[in-house]
């Protein structure tokens, strides 16, 4: 097992040098923090990751959760992890003081989650789900419900989950049929089934709190008739906890992330399941989407984190493994074998891994910073600006680190050759673990349609214009450095290409030709991702260039900054040119996937 799974130096670089976390403490909401407190929080996360999560990463995969006599047993490290996170106050660290949090900026929380997820991605599902479910309660539930549920969920003693998907309704939530009927006590009788519920039941929590979508009797059909309920596994009656008729019907045997059970539960089979309405009736989906957007950023982050762990595992191997001779070796028969890191193709794979994991992390942190600024900026104009930027970037943040993280881990496996495909090294587990990230919280197809169909066009393209301004600012900053000028010009041209594609596609939407508009939304996502991640790399390169010129770094520190600039150059040279082929396809109206001839598919 590789010792390193993330780079503390890179995290410090992004947090303090690129995104200037301290600047957030000028906002009233974050005024109680400073850089030292941010670093301490990150160090506490590192301790939890080093001492509990990382040592259990492989074991939790090997010994997956077991369902026996309606009880699910998970690895004991889950209990230690939940306790450590609860004791540290990290599950709800970003919550307001009033809701039991410490108003930690999302930017810092992303750094925390990145460390934990790189150490053991599956285990972080437990706390991520409790934080998400708790956030719904904090945002929309009554004070009474908050007081009842939040303290225990944030302490890690009760587990939160998201009860959305039903057997006949996967991504199509408008078709859910779980029902709720108001009773005299004010509670609702809940009846229905939910599937793929991560951390939906286990023996390391005293209670499981399902944030469940259901229809109240007589509610309108479709998405407008969905309400949100708290449905606990055990409900309180006369000071005692009794069974709430939520039965675990089955456990899914997943390809990866085996540390966390995904279950199928049945609520109200004996007509004895009670739930409590969160917020207003029929507003459930709207509420759930608030959580979903946070969760999407979380899934993207998970992709970047797994890609990071894979990068360091393959980098370590490439430094140690002798194989073959240098391409320039004249006396190949007698020369000793060289380390594989000296082969250009291995370096290409490693650079791609680094570019994806660190570029993906940068992008995620940018989104988190926008989330902080939209939540806490003093004036409404700024709040709206950063909300739009966040809203626009969210599908890209969800998709790029997931889709390209899979590529990145795959290249990492390739570095190890046959060993990478075996259980002796962690790459095969990482390859299985990361695969789910393009599916969780809305597949890549859904994210792509959201990006092109909704985010690009919202408020007459205002969000795109704001993003273009942000990118232009970076481009202008880069032109001040001779070594970066070439890359700033390239990015400006690519921005023009993106605008050209948007101008070509949007008229189809205005004419109601949604098929032509959205058929290749996935390719549009690829195009937009390449440009946005290149922007992030240029941003990182500017900071590195400035540091080299003004701080006189030496040794490893100089190498760190130089490698940032080198990786930016790599991404611009090897990845960014792919925009041309995507643009060619997107500008062509002959969309082959729109054929109605069934036989052409076979």
């Amino acid at each position: 097992m590789a010792k390193q799974y993330y780079s503390p130096r890179n995290l410090k670089f992004l947090l303090h040098e690129v995104f200037n976390a301290k600047e957030l403490t000028n906002l009233h909401h974050y005024k109680d923090h400073d850089n030292a407190s941010f670093d301490m929080v990150i160090d506490a996360a590192r301790q939890i990751a080093d001492n509990i999560l990382h040592p259990a990463y492989i074991e939790m995969d090997t010994n997956e959760p077991q369902l026996k006599d309606n009880k699910i047993t998970v690895h004991p490290a889950v209990k230690a992890y939940l306790k450590a996170m609860g004791d540290a106050g990290m599950i709800g660290a970003t919550y307001s003081y009033a809701d039991g949090g410490q108003q930690l900026p999302n930017l810092v929380q992303v750094a925390v989650s990145y460390i934990l997820s790189a150490a053991n991605n599956g285990a972080t599902m437990y706390t991520g789900l409790s934080a998400g479910a708790g956030r719904l309660i904090a945002s929309f539930a009554t004070q009474e419900l908050k007081d009842k549920y939040l303290p225990k969920m944030l302490a890690g003693t009760w587990q939160g989950t998201m009860g959305l998907t039903e057997p006949h309704a996967g991504s199509s939530l408008s078709d859910i049929t779980s029902s709720a009927k108001l009773t005299e006590t004010g509670a609702y009788k809940i009846k229905g089934q939910k599937i793929f519920i991560s951390a939906g039941d286990h023996d390391c929590a005293e209670n499981i709190i399902h944030l469940t979508l259901a229809r109240i009797e007589g509610a309108p059909k479709g998405t407008k008739g969905i309400s949100l309920f708290i449905v606990p596994k055990f409900r309180e009656e006369n000071g005692k906890f009794v069974d709430n008729d939520v039965i675990t019907a089955g456990i899914y045997h997943k390809m990866g992330q085996k540390s966390t059970p995904a279950i199928h539960f049945i609520a109200g089979d004996k007509d004895n399941c009670e739930g409590w309405l969160v917020g207003e009736a029929n507003q459930g989906l709207k509420y759930m989407f608030q959580m979903m957007n946070e969760a999407r950023i979380g899934v993207g982050l998970m992709g970047a984190a797994i890609a990071s762990a894979a990068y360091y595992a393959s980098l370590e191997y490439a430094h140690e493994r002798p194989q073959g001779r240098s391409l320039m070796e004249k006396d190949a028969k007698n020369a000793p074998q060289t380390k594989i890191i000296n082969h250009p193709d291995v370096r290409r794979m490693l650079l791609l891994q680094k570019a994806i994991s660190e570029g993906g992390l940068g992008l995620t942190m940018e989104a988190a910073r926008y989330a902080d600024l939209s939540e806490a900026s003093a004036n409404q104009e700024d709040k709206e600006k950063y909300f739009l930027l966040l809203d626009l970037l969210t599908p890209i943040v969800k998709t790029f680190p997931a889709e390209h993280g899979i590529r990145s881990v795959s290249e990492g496996m390739q570095v190890l050759g046959g060993y990478g495909y075996c259980k002796d090294f962690p790459l095969e587990q990482m390859a299985r673990d990361i695969r789910i990230t393009t599916i969780y919280e809305g597949t890549t197809g859904i994210q792509s349609q959201d990006l092109l169909g909704r985010k690009i066009t919202m408020q007459n393209g205002k969000a795109v214009m704001l993003l273009a301004q942000e990118i232009m600012q970076t481009i202008q900053e880069a032109t001040a450095f001779d070594d970066l000028k070439k890359y700033s010009e390239t990015l400006q041209k690519e921005l023009g290409r993106l605008q050209q594609v948007i101008q070509h596609l949007v008229p189809f939407a205005m004419k109601g030709e949604y098929n032509l508009f959205l058929a290749d939304a996935n390719l549009f996502m690829e195009l937009a991702s390449l440009i946005v991640v290149s922007w992030q790399w240029l941003k990182q390169a500017i900071v590195a260039q400035k540091a080299i010129l003004s701080n006189n770094p030496q040794g490893d520190e100089l190498s760190f900054y130089e490698s940032k600039i080198h990786t930016m150059k790599f991404y611009f040279a090897y990845e960014l040119p792919k925009t041309k082929s995507y643009a060619t396809r997107l500008l062509d109206t002959d969309v082959l996937t729109l054929t109605t001839e069934k036989e052409l598919i076979f």
Binding site: K3, Q4, P8, R9, D32, H33, D34, A36, S37, D39, M40, V41, D43, A44, Q47, I48, N51, A84, D87, A88, G89, M90, A93, G101, Q102, L104, P322, P336, P553, Q554, G555, D556, E557, F560
Partner: protein, 245 residues
Amino acid sequence: MKILVCITNVPDTTSKIEFIEGNTKLNTASIQFITGPYDDYAVSRAIELKEQTGGTLTVLNVGTAETEPTMRKALALGADDAIRINAEPTDAYFVAQQIAHIAKQNNYDLILMGRESIDFNGGQVHGMVGQMLNIPSLSPVMKLDLEGNTAKMLREIEGGKEYLEAQLPLVLGCQEPIAEWKIPNMRGIMSARSKPLLVVEPASPEMLTAVSVFSLPPAKTGVKMIAAEDAASLIALLQNEAKVL
């Protein structure tokens, strides 16, 4: 019960060590600094004892302003206040003098520290402080319980362990498993900002030693592969290169 814990600010054990300026200075730019691991055990046990006895806990560090994040961590974990002696801790006698000077003013019942720092690894300071204060000093202490004014301890000795009792005040060098390392919680981290951190100039500038130059061990050489049946080559290498036979 007044407890003083002396902590060091040392490079993380995973840091790559580099020297600059003609090998006379550590390149701190890319190094993550942490509380000395043995000191961390001392802090953890001190917090437990403070909670048990309802006493007070002060942390002390001899170091420049860069060490304050490490001190803040101890405050976040539960120390009540901190004292930083504003000087480079390059000489054990000098460091012991500073600690003793502060201790004489404050009458601590218990002074804990790690059995040694993990940068210079001198392991001398606790002994010197005990001598300067004219109180017993013991190290390495693996277990510590208090019963009134009596400390009951387990100490590691060559080839075994010894169980000891002594009256407070004491100076103890600590090591695992005296307590489990603690992780600061969010509330502690936030409250650490408002806890007092007193900076004082060193009491006496006397340093008896100074480092003239550092050197690193030679880099590890590459692995040599030997055929399984070629035992003679293996023995030759173990005799002539590794020099272990």
